[in-house]
Symmetry: none
Subunit: 206 residues, 4 copies
């Protein structure tokens, strides 16, 4: 297996790359992309400046990679959860379970700082990170999937389409996360989310 095994030099190199990547990550979470310097990154990583450019083409590349990684991680976690739910669970319960799960993942796995990073990216114009766009589409699809499974029982009298509802639910979720990111005093995302979506589901059902 000469291909699959990494030589100690390759391992070393990968470690250096990781050190740089992680240092960058920590710094970007706390600060603007622009205000973080390559000097800071390499100092934190304990490597020479040149090493940064051995492993990455530019500062921007690291930013984009970072964001893509984040988005991917968020997505994967949600999807696997959704698949694990009992099929015969009522749609509204399923939906609330998903909402609850999202809150948990955000709070415990991703963290407030990382999400702030993600939201900041979307409000800045410079970086055109494809993954961030797909991220929203995926969240929308998950919501839509649950809603469509039993739209009749969820919204018996509604004039809105399932797509419409899904989109609005995504919007609400964004408001919740934005608030959560911005608030300095602690805010229990899960409780807030459940209260809000419960209200929405009721309104929808009416």
């Amino acid at each position: 297996m000469t291909d699959n095994t990494l030589s100690s030099r390759q391992k070393q190199a990968l470690q250096t790359r990781e050190k740089i990547y992680e240092s960058a990550e920590e710094l970007f979470i706390e600060n603007d992309f622009e205000s973080v310097t390559v000097d800071q990154i390499v100092k934190k990583a304990g490597v020479a400046k040149g090493s940064f450019y051995v492993h990455f083409a530019s500062k921007d590349e690291v930013i984009v990679l970072l964001i893509n990684d984040y988005v991917e991680k968020v997505d994967t976690d949600y999807k696997s959860f959704l698949d694990s739910l009992a099929e015969d669970m009522p749609a509204d319960e399923k939906f609330l379970a998903l909402v609850e799960k999202i809150a948990e993942v955000l709070t415990e796995n991703i963290g407030k700082e990382n999400m702030r990073l993600l939201y900041r990216v979307q409000l800045e114009k410079k970086l055109n990170v494809s993954s961030v766009i797909s991220y929203d589409r995926d969240l929308y699809k998950m919501f839509l999937q649950v809603i469509e499974e039993d739209f009749e029982s969820l919204a018996p009298h509604s004039s809105l389409s399932a797509e419409n509802v899904a989109r609005q639910f995504v919007t609400v979720y964004r408001g919740l996360v934005f608030d959560w990111c911005v608030r300095t005093r602690e805010l229990d995302l899960k409780t807030e989310a459940l209260d809000l979506y419960e209200m929405l589901l009721k309104g929808l059902n009416e």
Copy 2:
């Protein structure tokens, strides 16, 4: 200076200050705070670089002033509208009218770019702009005021408090605006907002 009339010298100075301020405003709307330079500002204003520092202590000062102004303006517009509504209007109609008005003001008066500016500020850590915090409080107060006026009819069976509901409604509003700012394809804020809050009010009323 015993009178409040300005000498021509003072008038001139005020004009210079305004020119700089407005140039800065236009540039900050279109670009990151960091990427806008003092050079750009004074060039657009048609004054010398030194003049900038005659009127402002630093670039950051201008940014903070700008944000404070924005927040104040947004607030004022909403409040005066709320006062103009008929007192005997039902609470839910009043609320939806306010929601509609907010959408109008945002779309027509403030503009998407300006709102993005405002939201960006909140996701960045550097600037500690007190006004932005108060801004949310004011929006919250308006919502609360309408809700409290007739909480009984709005939420006859709800276990949530009026404060709780008001807070959540603010959150939803934030989600809507965030989405509106971020979406590239046009999104009709007013329609979306009315649909969403109608659903919420129904859910609350149940």
Copy 3:
């Protein structure tokens, strides 16, 4: 005359600009364009690095300006001399006088180092300095003018056109200057030039 007089500040600024320009000039003569650094230039000029960019847009701009200046200076000197020659002087004497004058100007006014700079520019691809091209055209024109004035007596039997001859004489002149620039041991440009062109004129006349 408020326009025409320079304030002491403007004079100061101009002096700084000159200091930088001249420092750059001296350094470029002795070294490659690429190997001369802005740091070297400002250190030699005794100003801060930023001052360089107050007066010049980039390092390349200075190089282009420098070359243009050189070419212009060379041209002007020759032309005014040519105009000063007696009209009834025989064509071959006139030509030799011009050749002699060129040698004098190059030796005494321009200097070997500067000419080397000029020739180097032409062998490098990067810089597209319009003036250098026009420079050759002008030298050619001067030669052509003298030759055409009395082509019959200069080349009674030649099958070559006056244009052809002028071009070749320019070529020879280039060879002379190139040699002069490259040789380390002193070479008397004037004597060499006169000997060579005398030979050429004789050959042409035959």
Copy 4:
């Protein structure tokens, strides 16, 4: 090592060396010495960066070796041709034949780009390439050899020495080549050279 056969290891090494050397050559022809990087060279050669320093002490060493090779190659070509000419050919015809041959070799064997490389080297100070100096001496010697063979018939009345004439003829040749290198529009070196030297020989003979 008692024999001159190379082990396969040594052959491999020599090949690597050649690959690097040739890649460097191609790059230096098209670009400034300074702007060509070791990275570019090894990438083009398809070897690792370290291999470059196994075979060469520095980038500068490669440049010097390259230039020496060029000069040597140019020389050899001329010399062998000169030896092949009929002994009883008249001196002026012999000289023109040599001139023609030089033009041919330059145009067809060496190429404009390579010659520009060679001329550029001479106008730069950094590199003190001994061979370049010897190169001129050799060209001079060839010219001198032809001229001296029958100086009486070539320059019956001239006050100049054979050495003097040879030197001037080299100078003219340089002018021709310089022009040829610099001109963008095509210029037929051979025709130009023959015309010019014919003129010179006539003038010399007068």
